[in-house]
């Protein structure tokens, strides 16, 4: 994000040029979702920049030299964690500041077969922890503590904002439960493009029928057999639609949908939308996705 990078540059210059003012902490976040949550807690008290642009697929992220500079310049780096940023590992070794893995300490889902895509760093864990709002509440705690350590002057502000955010997340959770309850139990089945909704499904009692791409990453390719099994499962379950993320091309999903007579419904999975879009913040993203899911599952096929 251009504005972010200019901010980093500007911040650095400010630090160099004005020695009487205490330097502001610079914070780097990897995904837009992490960035949003961090901003909620941090407010304007630190410089927050985000590595991935809007719409980029975090699984397929390829770092550039500019990203290396941004990492090196940050005082604090927040990762979504659980292996999502596996491709950034070499970059992070050069980080000057502290690296905070937001998902450490969380209970992670794991695939028995260990098939998590071609990235060995992912270690077979499902990284889409943010689809369980309680995890994001835990994130806010971690963030508040980390920010307080780096910038003790504003520790009370971070604390206050984290508390407020956790209340909002509590309301979100209740709202989601209400919405999901409107879906008849036999219709609570999800077919998605990749395994992104595991935490959501576990928490809210929805069954994951199958995915177009096998595994937790968008970089895997299904074999013919896996696709055939998926189509069988779709037909057997009678689901009305396939939920597809906006970050990857949907050609294969479209073919499957056409062959099984289902619709394609778009969700935001790994990235927020543009600021003027329907999922500009984490809370908006969850509301939008849940609304899409509920509408999709309750609509007549």
């Amino acid at each position: 994000m251009r504005a972010g990078r200019v901010a980093v540059l500007g911040g650095t210059l400010l630090v160099l040029s004005s020695c009487s003012v205490p330097p502001q902490v610079t914070v780097l976040c990897t995904t837009t979702i992490v960035g949003d949550v961090v901003r909620e807690i941090a407010g304007d008290d630190v410089f927050v920049t985000v590595l991935l642009p809007v719409g980029a697929d975090p699984h397929a992220f390829q770092a550039s030299p500019r990203d290396a500079i941004a990492v090196e310049a940050a005082d604090l780096v927040f990762l979504s964690g659980a292996g999502l940023e596996g491709s950034l590992a070499p970059l992070l070794q050069a980080a000057r500041g502290r690296i905070v893995d937001l998902s450490s300490g969380l209970t992670l889902r794991q695939d028995e077969a260990g098939a998590a895509g071609p990235h060995p760093d992912e270690g077979g864990f499902d990284p889409h922890v943010w689809f369980d709002p309680r995890n994001v509440a835990a994130w806010s705690e971690t963030i508040a503590k980390a920010l307080a350590e780096a910038d003790s002057d504003h520790a009370s502000m971070y604390r206050a904002r984290a508390d407020a955010y956790q209340r909002e997340i509590g309301e979100l959770d209740l709202w989601i439960r209400d919405r999901v309850a409107t879906v008849p139990e036999e219709a609570r089945r999800l077919v998605t493009d990749h395994e992104a909704f595991g935490y959501f499904a576990d928490l809210y009692g929805i069954e994951e029928i199958g995915t177009i791409l096998p595994g937790y990453s968008t970089l895997s390719e299904p074999s013919a057999r896996e696709l055939a099994a998926l189509e069988d499962a779709i037909r057997a379950a009678g689901v009305p639609c396939i939920f597809v993320g906006t970050t990857i091309p949907s050609a294969l999903a479209e073919q499957v949908a056409a062959d099984t007579g289902t619709r394609i419904v778009f969700l935001y999975t790994g990235s927020l939308s543009e600021p003027d879009g329907p999922a500009a913040t984490y809370l908006d993203l969850m509301r939008f996705d849940v609304e899409q899911i509920v509408r999709g599952l309750t609509a007549s096929p």
Binding site: A56, F61, S223, E231, A251
Partner: protein, 286 residues
């Protein structure tokens, strides 16, 4: 599961039927055009044309976005024809050795493609599809394009068959008979270019060379005349496509790779089993 069930099970899925048709068409087409690639020692050239498609696709992605696959086809087609004619032109000039010239174009175009594609953050998925194919995602529209352009290539080969064979065997005779030898050479390059683009979705760039060369070479070991070489090659190509897809279905391996492995297996079989006569070793007498 009985043999019949085993054969029929994949056919219950429309995507498998489309994939099988596409693989058969592409297998046959690559072998037929591949006959000339093998006889004229154009393997490196064919590989270069295949890899040079990447910048065209990358430009298409940048211009039209990743969703629009139809336009990517046209971008790839335009690029590959231009590159084929360009490589032909460069190697005719003769200032640098032909394989060096081809190698430079090959590597340069591929690097350009990667560079362009890398400006699209998260291009890895698209790249995998371009390199290794995406046969399971073939739509009816894609099949129509494959059939139309593949058919056009086949038609041209049939129409100009004896001229193409002649200029491949003895371009001097072609010159003596006042045939437009250079035109036929360029026609062949264009046919290879179109074949490459049509076959992209089934095999992908990285494995394209194998489909162009392996079935035709297998046929070369088994036959004595160009006509039979082409026919046998086409059969082997079609069979590789179909068998490869069935293997992919039952053993959960990537389709493009499975097709190529079947073709290579056929080649190894032929290599081992044909008696060493005539075609395989240089005739000792002069």
């Amino acid at each position: 599961m009985s043999a019949f069930e085993w054969l029929v099970a994949p056919l219950r899925y429309p995507f498998m039927i489309r994939a099988l048709v596409a693989s058969a068409l592409v297998g046959g087409l690559c072998s037929i055009v591949g006959t000339f690639v093998v006889l004229r020692s154009m393997a490196f050239l064919g590989d270069a044309i295949a890899h040079s498609v990447l910048p065209g696709i990358a430009t298409g992605v940048l211009v039209a976005g990743r969703g629009d696959r139809r336009s990517l086809f046209w971008w790839a087609l335009g690029t590959s024809i231009l590159v084929a004619l360009g490589i032909g032109w460069v190697s005719e000039r003769g200032r640098i050795k032909e394989d060096t010239a081809i190698g430079i174009v090959f590597a340069g175009m591929f690097a350009l493609g990667i560079a362009l594609l890398s400006t699209v953050r998260g291009f890895a998925v698209d790249l995998v599809h371009v390199l290794f194919g995406d046969v399971l995602g073939v739509s009816v529209g894609d099949l129509a394009l494959i059939a139309a352009f593949g058919g056009a290539v086949l038609l041209l080969v049939v129409l100009f068959y004896k001229e193409l064979v002649l200029v491949s065997f003895d371009p001097t005779l072609g010159a003596t008979l006042r045939l437009p030898v250079a035109v036929y050479r360029r026609l062949l390059l264009v046919l290879v270019a179109i074949t490459v683009v049509v076959s992209l979705q089934v095999v992908g760039l990285a494995l394209m060379l194998a489909m162009l060369v392996a079935p035709a070479t297998t046929a070369y070991l088994l036959t004595r005349r160009v006509r039979s070489m082409m026919a046998v090659g086409a059969l082997i190509g079609v069979a590789s496509g179909l068998i490869g897809l069935y293997l992919s279905f039952y053993f959960a391996v990537a389709s493009g790779a499975a097709i190529v492995l079947v073709a290579i297996a056929a080649f190894l079989l032929a290599l081992l089993l044909t008696p060493r006569r005539g075609l395989l070793h240089r005739p000792a007498r002069r």
